[in-house]
């Protein structure tokens, strides 16, 4: 009897929290099918009364949305591929090789995690200005070639690869490049998926750095374009909701497809962290 009551109580807490968690997103998604009149009216309904896809077609027509979307996608994928590769490589070298100064180097990298983004951004801006790289993607990508967080996560993950396996390959005559690419990389798929999602998401969400670097409209990214959108068409909430839905949905789909590996990956790093 007592168990039943506990079970009901726990389930209720979890369900209420779930509803509160996804409510804002569901509401936004529903509202993206409403007209502006309905959104701004005093009589609010959760679901659209006269559902319309007008907002979506408007966003795609009025606003060079597909270009921003495509720019963001290319930028985010590029950053993800680069940082996941460099993080895994650095993690492998810092966990599997013994050399002088290794731990010092690693703790220095960890300490850079404490340096706030807004602190480094001022000198980095001047640096790019001096190099004449403003308004180019290389200025956008270069400061993210390595990320301290990625190196930290992948070093943890590499530590779980058994040394015997690496030694066996070496005895068979494999060089270190082969060992890394053909043995270590495939073994770390869970961690690679979870760090990829993090990196993709952060890149997709990048705001200040691209905002400062990119000036030309045709190179602009989606997160900055959304801001312009709300300024330029300030009363057009319906359009904003549709645009936001298009910005959020790819990430959610990506996450749902990979969620099992993703959660396995972050939990694995949590236990050791």
């Amino acid at each position: 009897m007592k168990q039943k009551a506990t079970s009901a109580l726990l389930n209720m807490i979890l369900i209420v929290c779930s509803v509160l968690t996804i409510m804002p997103l569901v509401w936004m998604f529903c509202s993206s099918f409403k007209t502006n009149i309905e959104i701004n009216s005093l009589a609010q309904n959760f679901f659209p009364q006269n559902a319309t896809v007008q907002n979506y077609t408007d966003v795609l027509r009025k606003f060079d949305f597909l270009r921003y979307f495509f720019n963001s996608l290319v930028y985010s994928l590029l950053i993800t591929v680069i940082t996941v590769y460099t993080s895994t490589l650095a993690g492998f070298v810092l966990s599997k090789y013994r050399f002088k100064g290794r731990d010092l180097l690693f703790s220095m990298i960890l300490m850079t995690m404490m340096v706030p983004g807004v602190v480094t951004i001022i000198p980095r801006y001047s640096m790019m200005q001096l190099l004449g790289w403003l308004d180019s993607y290389r200025a956008l990508i270069l400061p993210s070639v390595f990320t301290p967080f990625g190196i930290f996560m992948m070093r943890q993950a590499c530590a779980s690869v058994p040394n015997e396996l690496l030694e066996a390959a070496r005895v068979d005559g494999a060089n270190e490049f082969f060992v890394f690419h053909r043995i270590v990389l495939p073994l770390l798929h869970n961690s690679i998926v979870s760090i990829s999602i993090f990196q993709f998401l952060w890149a997709w969400d990048d705001y200040l750095w691209p905002y400062l670097m990119i000036r030309s409209d045709n190179k602009q990214l989606l997160s900055i374009a959304l801001n312009m959108f709300s300024g330029r068409y300030s009363t057009d909430y319906a359009g904003l909701f549709a645009a936001t839905a298009i910005a959020i949905i790819p990430v959610i789909i990506f996450y749902i497809i990979f969620q099992k590996r993703f959660i396995a990956g972050i939990s694995a790093s949590a236990v050791k962290g």
């Binding site: 807490i13 705001y207 909430y237 959020i248």
Partner: protein, 296 residues
């Protein structure tokens, strides 16, 4: 041959090559993009520095004196501590409560909850903040509709900070749930069984077994949360621009404003350096407390 050389592991040429390449890249990269900027920020704080006019005039301690006497700066520091403390507290409390509830054997469909709770964390912050701007709208916003109130969340000094906190807590609690759940799955079940046999209540088991076992994970979440909340500015930028008055100025937003809307790079550099020191001290203190406080 020296003994040290004998005991060292045999290194192939490819290992030396790979290692050297990676270490060189790491050193150059972190020197250029982290070390150099911190030094530049420190030096820059002694100048009147405007990148648009290509202006750099030596000021001595002027920026620092201005900073220490600035009411806005102290206000922002106070707000930042309040914001970081409250947001971290709720993240940990919700994380602990929900991860323990989810871990219970009485719960089915665990993976569904896990996926749902994590969704806000993976949605892009900038995009989602625009949605919340409308959720906080007076009268017709979703939050007021649900509560049956008519609060002007973003423009009423009593509620503006609460609004930023609500958004932040909603966005971030899922991360703590997943991390702590990971910690729970690695706990030794024998301890719990014997505690139950000995008649320990659920609360006692939580207090004396679960909390100490989760301590490393809690500490990890607390430290990463504090570091990231000390750097929060996007919600302020999108929702309130620091207002009403100076109610929601956070340190990072103040730096953003000084640097990139007023182009006072010198003064912003002094602010940045202070923020950097605050985070460094805070992280150090967290480690110290956690080292001593075994009773947690």
């Amino acid at each position: 041959m020296k003994p040290a050389a004998i005991s060292a592991p045999l290194r192939s040429r490819s290992e030396v090559a790979l290692r050297s390449i990676v270490v060189c890249f790491l050193i150059v990269f972190f020197a250029v993009f982290y070390l150099l900027p911190v030094i530049a920020v420190f030096i820059g704080s002694f100048f009147q520095w405007n990148p648009l006019k290509n202006q750099m005039i030596y000021l001595g301690l002027d920026n620092w004196v201005k900073l220490l006497h600035s009411e806005l700066f102290w206000r922002a520091v106070g707000n930042t501590f309040l914001f970081a403390a409250v947001a971290t507290f709720f993240r940990i409390v919700l994380g602990l409560a929900l991860s323990n509830a989810l871990f219970s054997k009485l719960i089915k469909h665990k993976s569904v909850y896990r996926v749902l709770y994590y969704i806000p964390t993976i949605t892009p912050l900038v995009a989602v903040t625009f949605v919340w701007k409308f959720i906080f709208a007076p009268r017709i916003g979703l939050l007021n509709q649900m509560l049956g109130t008519n609060i002007n969340w973003l423009f009423d000094g009593k509620y503006a900070m609460a609004a930023i906190l609500i958004l932040t807590i909603w966005k971030d609690f899922g991360y703590a749930v997943i991390m702590l759940l990971g910690g729970l799955y690695s706990r030794p079940e024998e301890c719990y069984e014997s505690a139950e046999v000995d008649g320990a209540s659920a609360w006692q088991r939580f207090r004396y077994l679960t909390l100490p076992l989760l301590k490393p994970t809690i500490l990890f979440v607390v430290i990463t949360s504090l570091i990231s909340y000390f750097q929060t500015y996007i919600p302020v930028l999108v929702l309130t621009q620091g207002g009403p008055g100076t109610q929601t100025y956070l340190a990072s937003y103040l730096i953003y404003e000084e640097a990139f809307s007023k182009y006072n790079f010198g003064y912003a550099s002094a602010l940045s350096f202070v923020l950097f020191l605050m985070i460094a001290v805070l992280t150090g203190v967290s480690f110290k407390i956690s080292g001593k406080g075994d009773s947690l």
